[in-house]
Symmetry: D2
Subunit: 325 residues, 4 copies
């Protein structure tokens, strides 16, 4: 299913080089006045406009305009589905023409072809990170709903390679770019103002639902919350009063903190060995507008998926616990 | 919702000190001959029967018998819902009588009370790990279905504290037990025989759905697959051909490997500071049948949740890609 | 799926001659004190205890006891799944031994065999009306929740054959019973105290969701609300101010009235022509404890399915419209 | 939820006088070549182009163009979500300006205002039949998928008022139109080529799921299949071998026939009494492009909803019964 969420739900569509990417937000309560400027600026963050040139070569090109189709009138939500799309403007399909029969290393070319027997080979089609633009629009709507409940979501890159000093990220990135290589990174996200009681027991635990939505982001390979993997060598007596924001999967009202890791950009100009559709071994060197580190543009996407998830669980909690209150 | 899965689904119920824990497996294809002995032995693993005494003090006591209510005839699945329950035998409610008004540290007592305005304070009620017995039964059914497709799921503890040598786990555990303390641990799981094409694009990516089901296990604080968090300092040129089992969220036919971390057992005999229902600060020392390391009994639960998830995505893939094939 | 409902959901399980029938009610708010006597009396209604002997030959035999497994403590809901089962007591499997290879006319024997390649031939197995006992228990819980909102659900038989005078039903039924035949009937249900705003636009319209749940009852062949099929020859100027309880699929606060029709009992002692598993044509005369008119015991089942549906939409409306209020 | 279907799902969006109406079809298998001309002609049927002028005054005006956003390449489905929209061209908002504060009789104006605290009063907004254009596009895709399985869906108007002779429909309609009144109608639909085994036991019975989708169509007030309500005075011995297409909710391979009734068009020029937003009683006479009989344009919508439902249950059956086969 290309839909996430039970009450506040988001359906995502679009191929990177098709007509457009977009989505439908369903279940957003009526009467919410949307700040379109905020949505625009979130899309700018995703486009990497705030990143130094060289770090994101896309920065110069991409310009995303949201076309609204339904669900709002005078920028106020009607309680009906909010449908929108973003036209794909810079469709350099020809860049991909020559490699259309080659399965790029660490890309979904091979699995899509195997699963569907057909694929849009232009820029990865459905598997492209281009699709995350729709997540950011839906996420911005979710953030504005959460703001009414004084809940905020903030993510940032905390590590690239071995480096944790943000002032030195640019040097590392420039160096790798010259080498035509890429690097991994870790994003940390903090949810402030959490209400007590968000998250359902057993399968819909707050951390479980969050890990599901975060791990659905392209290139994300791991999720942890609170002290995460470092707990392996901690003792109960040391950490029992550090909940990380949830107990039994339900928010306890304290800030919820999680981290996720992104693999290095698979598209690199250094020559790599791979196979084509006939299984023949070939070398490929991928040039073009590719980030050195995917994690750099991930924070706004991470915030978006977290916000969509919290909005859904917040509304679900209202209905599930209403009679008891 | 206490249900997980879309085609092969599992509904979980039960409080630790209520009448029973159990579940309903829906969507299991008809005609599958169940090996009841395998289910019994999986429950034994969860009960810690194979662990040295002292490591799991429950080992002596717990004995789980599955009562089948529907969905099978002569041990063969009928295609209808398979309902079952396991009686709660050793219900020492009195152990909890004296602390019924106290919120135990790192337990869900506080959040359940806040969310529902009522809770079964006996042994944590719904939030108790007791509930995982039902997951193991459902998981064993899923494993037997997957076996027909030559898919197997195997998990084991790979680290406790700083220790990765399994031969020395017992010493560490005995030492902590004497101190009345607890420790964290990491479980690794490998899925062999994966078919190509399992997992759906975008939100229902194989790793996303797996992290959701694994993070829903009590005390689990992190999930990673393939090279996971270690990718932060890897370069694209180093790791591009290590998929970890999925590309674009869809299985590529290679083994899928993931790891998850469990926090130290919150119930320890060392005195801890906490609050009671009136917010009054109190000291509490929790004695009784508590493991030193929750991770020790986790592998069979991890396997179960992974098997339930793979079974669901396997059947979903059959329906979603049928026409193309 | 054997589950109905999104927030207040009900999972149904059991074969008529297996160990038990039962279900799991999930999403019922915590803190609801259940009246167990009401549940018992609803089950009595389903068993036909209030019907004159001869009309329902089952009356003497069936005695349903509910075994509660989870979700309640001291009869108060905990907010966790409420699981229960009812043992199948009078399992006269031998009655069916001799016709195990025959597809009874108008029964699901043939379709189950074709769909699953296996079936529990004892009393229809999963397809038996026996399963409705679980619906009645879940429905009674839903009714008690609705009562807190001053919503009540009442159904009764309004027609049998051509007869609409309830005083003369008994004669018709006795006559048919002597002939070894059966007859159809119509049940009418009125929902009092509806809140304004229940039901969602487009697919989850109140009448759509109600028809779905009512048409899921065995032998139900039609559903209509308000003036229903009689509207075919009405003019807008005549009926525009008769909403039937919903406008645009959303309750307008007036009573909601619907009717449904049940086909004649398929099991009759008059000899009928059918086929066996080998496609061979055979005659069959079905004797045993079968009602002359299925509609007679249907009202409590109709009320139950309506209550489950209203409870779900009521809770959904709370979460969907919360911010606007 | 504005989404219907579990495997083959359809999400519907749009207000009648907003930017557009449209939808997202998810779960359609990859590799299906779409006949765009067929989709166009289905939309023409909905627009009433084939109806005599006077019967449908919209005929002259409405012209629907489908804009495709994703999920297809060279008219072939990719297995990803198929998103599309249809611009709202003739938005005579001013027609509604003067009655924006009045709740039109038998319309959803009142319930939407009450539920959401806000509504798009232009042409009924979300509650307008305009939304059904998106259903027809999704339905046409479903029909083309079903055609690959040799399943077809055909509906037609069989009664208007007391008239069942189609040759005399026009006279009745012209007469009513002159009077400024409207009339109800009945549509019958036959599904040919049904495979055996479609439909799930208990809640997802074929007739239950069909009634749900058909009753979700605006102005539909009743659904029946097979002999429907006429069964009230039939005897088991008479009708036992007339299944109507399903036994135990599962298709038996014979044609499935159902009927549904549509109320008279609520918008009539005859003056009617109603209330405004302040509860003040007012008279209203609704002029403009309104059909005399809603049922006339309903067949293609009925076919669409039936096709979407059958496609979903067909794919579900493939996954649920796969292992048994």
């Amino acid at each position: 299913m290309n839909t996430i969420g039970r009450i506040f739900s988001f359906t995502d569509f679009g191929e990177s080089h098709g007509v457009a990417v977009g989505g439908v937000v369903d279940g957003c309560p009526a009467g919410l006045k949307l700040d379109m400027e905020q949505i625009r600026s979130e899309l700018q963050r995703r486009a990497g406009k705030d990143l130094p040139y060289g770090v994101s070569m896309r920065a110069k090109t991409e310009e995303d305009q949201v076309c609204w189709l339904s669900g709002i009138k005078d920028d106020i939500t009607l309680g009906s589905p909010i449908a929108f799309f973003i036209k794909n403007q810079s469709a350099h399909a020809e860049d991909y023409e020559k490699i259309k029969n080659i399965f790029r290393p660490a890309h979904a070319d091979f699995t899509y072809q195997a699963k569907y027997g057909i694929r849009d080979w232009r820029g990865g089609g459905r598997a492209s990170a281009r699709e995350t633009a729709a997540r950011v629009v839906a996420g911005s709507i979710a953030k504005q709903l959460l703001a009414k409940y004084n809940i905020s979501v903030n993510a940032k890159v905390i590590q690239i390679g071995d480096e944790i000093d943000r002032n030195r990220f640019a040097d590392i990135l420039k160096d790798l770019q010259e080498k035509g290589d890429s690097i991994g990174g870790i994003v940390e996200c903090v949810i402030h103002g959490m209400k007590i009681g968000i998250g359902e027991p057993i399968f819909d635990k707050l951390p479980a639902r969050l890990s599901y939505s975060i791990m659905s982001i392209n290139a994300c390979k791991g999720f942890e919350y609170g002290s995460g993997f470092s707990l392996v060598n901690k003792r109960g007596s040391e950490i029992n009063n550090m909940s990380g924001g949830a107990l039994g999967g339900i928010s306890d009202g304290t800030d919820f903190t999680f981290r996720c890791v992104f693999k290095p950009t698979p598209s690199i100009s250094i020559a790599q060995r791979t196979i084509d559709e006939n299984g023949k071994s070939v070398d490929i060197s991928i040039r073009g507008r590719h980030d050195v580190c995917l994690a750099l543009r991930a924070p706004v996407i991470v915030e978006s998926m977290a916000a969509i998830t919290i909005a859904d669980l917040l509304l679900e909690n209202i209905s599930r616990s209403c009679y008891a209150k």
